[in-house]
Symmetry: C2
Subunit: 291 residues, 2 copies
C-alpha cells in the first residue's frame, strides 16, 4: 500500500480524477455534438473544368397505387466534386483506389492549419512548413493518423465559382487563384509525420496557379489521401477534434463524394482544449473539496 500515503491530497486528487473521468466519459459516450464539414451535393457543386455535369433525376415523386407516398431519384456525378476525397490512385500509378483504403485511414485527430489572413492578402498562398511548425508550437507534435486541413477561409465563397476559382474565366485553370499546399510542406508531412489525410477548403490541394500538381503527386505517391472543398472549418477547434472522412465505398474509384464531419470536439489530447477542460474540472474540484 505504498502507492498513496497522504490522506488530504488524496481526497482532492480522488475527487479531481473522478470528476475528470465523469466529464470525459460523458463526452465520449455521446460522441455528439458533430460538426458537419460537408457542402451539399447538387447542380451547383463545383467540379474541375472538363468534368461532365452533375445530374439529379427524379425517378418517382408522389402517391402510389398502394396508397403510400414514394420518392426516388438517381444521380450522375464525377468523382471529384464538392467535398470529396482524392484517392492516392488519382495522381499516382498503382496506388490505393477508394475501395482499397481502409476506413481507419479515413479518420484521425483533426489538425487545422489556419492561414486565413495570409490567404486574404495573397490568394496564391501555399501552406508552408513554417505554418505546420506554428501549429506544433501551439498544440504539440502533429499526431499519428492526423487529418491535416488547411483553413484558408475559402469555404465561405463556395459554391460561387468566380469567387472560389478566383477568376471570371471559370473554365480556364491558367487563370485560377486560390490557396493550397506548398510542395515543401506536403513533402515535410510525408517524410516527418505519419498522417492519414491532407486536405483543403479550396478546390485543390495544389494552389490555383499550379500546372504540375506537385502536392497531389507527393501525397499520392506516399499513399496519403487527399480531401478538397471542406466546409465549416471555423466551427471546429484547430486541435483536439476527431475528423471522419466518410467517402462512398466506390470500387476502383480514384475519388468520390464524402460526408466529412468532426466529433470529440472537447476531447483534446492537445494543449488548447485540454487546458480548458482542465481548468473547468479543477474549479469544480476545488468547490467540491472545500464544500
Amino acid at each position: 500500500m505504498s502507492w498513496v500515503s497522504v490522506t488530504q491530497p488524496n481526497g482532492f486528487l480522488l475527487c479531481f480524477v473522478s470528476v475528470f473521468m465523469v466529464v470525459y466519459l460523458g463526452n465520449c459516450v455521446n460522441g455528439i455534438p458533430v460538426v458537419d464539414l460537408t457542402h451539399v451535393q447538387d447542380s451547383n457543386t463545383i467540379f474541375w473544368p472538363g468534368n461532365p455535369q452533375f445530374n439529379f433525376t427524379i425517378l418517382y415523386r408522389g402517391l402510389t397505387d398502394g396508397g403510400y407516398w414514394y420518392e426516388s431519384n438517381a444521380i450522375q456525378t464525377p468523382e471529384h466534386g464538392g467535398t470529396h476525397v482524392d484517392a492516392p490512385s488519382h495522381f499516382a500509378k498503382d496506388k490505393l483506389r477508394i475501395d482499397q483504403i481502409p476506413m481507419s485511414k479515413l479518420c484521425g485527430p483533426g489538425v487545422i492549419i489556419n492561414v486565413k489572413e495570409k490567404a486574404r492578402a495573397n490568394p496564391d498562398y501555399r501552406v508552408q512548413v513554417s505554418d505546420l511548425k506554428v501549429w506544433e508550437d501551439k498544440y504539440g507534435r502533429i499526431p499519428d493518423g492526423a487529418v491535416v486541413l488547411m483553413n484558408s477561409g475559402w469555404s465561405d465563397k463556395y459554391p460561387n465559382k468566380t469567387l472560389t476559382f478566383g477568376t471570371e474565366s471559370v473554365n480556364d485553370p491558367s487563370t485560377f487563384h486560390f490557396p493550397g499546399w506548398h510542395e515543401d510542406a506536403a513533402d515535410w508531412l510525408v517524410k516527418n509525420r505519419n498522417v492519414n489525410v491532407v486536405g483543403v477548403d479550396t478546390p485543390s490541394n495544389d494552389y490555383g496557379q499550379s500546372t504540375t500538381f506537385d502536392a497531389h503527386v507527393i501525397l499520392a505517391t506516399a499513399n496519403i489521401n487527399g480531401l478538397e472543398n471542406v466546409a465549416n472549418l471555423d466551427n471546429i477547434p484547430e486541435a483536439g477534434s476527431t475528423i471522419y472522412v466518410a467517402v462512398i465505398n466506390l470500387q476502383d474509384g480514384s475519388g468520390g463524394p464524402a460526408r466529412v464531419f468532426a466529433t470529440n470536439l472537447d476531447n483534446s489530447v492537445n494543449a488548447a482544449s485540454f487546458s480548458t477542460s482542465f481548468k473547468w474540472v479543477l474549479a469544480l474540484c476545488i468547490l467540491l473539496t472545500l464544500g
Copy 2:
C-alpha cells in the same frame, strides 16, 4: 476535507479510477479501431427492381502530357442501392430529405438485434417487439439517439441477388423472401423510444413479402431514418459501439449511398462490454495496489 478520510481504500480507489481513466481515455482519443459496415459500390450493387443500372465510367486513366499519372471517373447511381440511407421523404410526404437531416441524427449508440437463428429458420421473419425486449433485458434501455439494426445474417449473401432476395425471380418482388422489421416493432420504437436510425442487413426495412411497406411508412412518418444492406454486423458488439451513417449530402435526396462504420467498440455504457472493461481494470488495479 470530509469527502474522503480513510487512506487504505483510497490508494486502491485512486489507482482504480486513474487506470480506468487512462484506459478509457486511450480508447476515446484514438477513436479507432473502426469497423466498416459498408458493402462496396460497383456494378454488382443490389438495387430494387425497376431502378436504372449503376454505371462507372473511366474519364481518364494514364500518364498525362504533364508527366504525372492521372485517374478520374464518373458514376451513375440510383439513390437506393447497396449500403444506403432511406430519408424520411422516401416514404412520407413533406418529411425530411437527405440534405435536411443533420449529421447528429445520422449517428448514435449501436443497438444490434440478433435474429440470425430465427431468420435462418424462416426467411420471412420480422423483428418483433419481443426481440427488442430481449436486447433491453440484456443491455438496458435502448439509448436515446440509437442506431437500431437487425442482424439477420443476411449480409453474407450479398451481392448474390438470388440469395439476397431469396428467389430465382430477382425482378419480381412478389417472390422475395428475406427478413425485415415487423410494423409492430417499428411502431413500438417510434412510440416508446427516441432513436435516430432503424436499419437492416437485407435490401429493405420491410420483409420481402411486404406489399404495403408498413415499417417504411411508420418510420418515415416519424422522421426516422432508414438504413439498408448493412455489412459486417457480426464484427461489432450488440451493444456499446457508436455507429455513424455517413450518407452523401445530397440536395433533395430521398436517400443515398452511405459509408457506415462503428467506433468506440470498447466504450460501452451498457452492461456487456462495460463489465469486460471493468473486470480487466479491476484485475490490473489489484495487481498494482498489491505490488
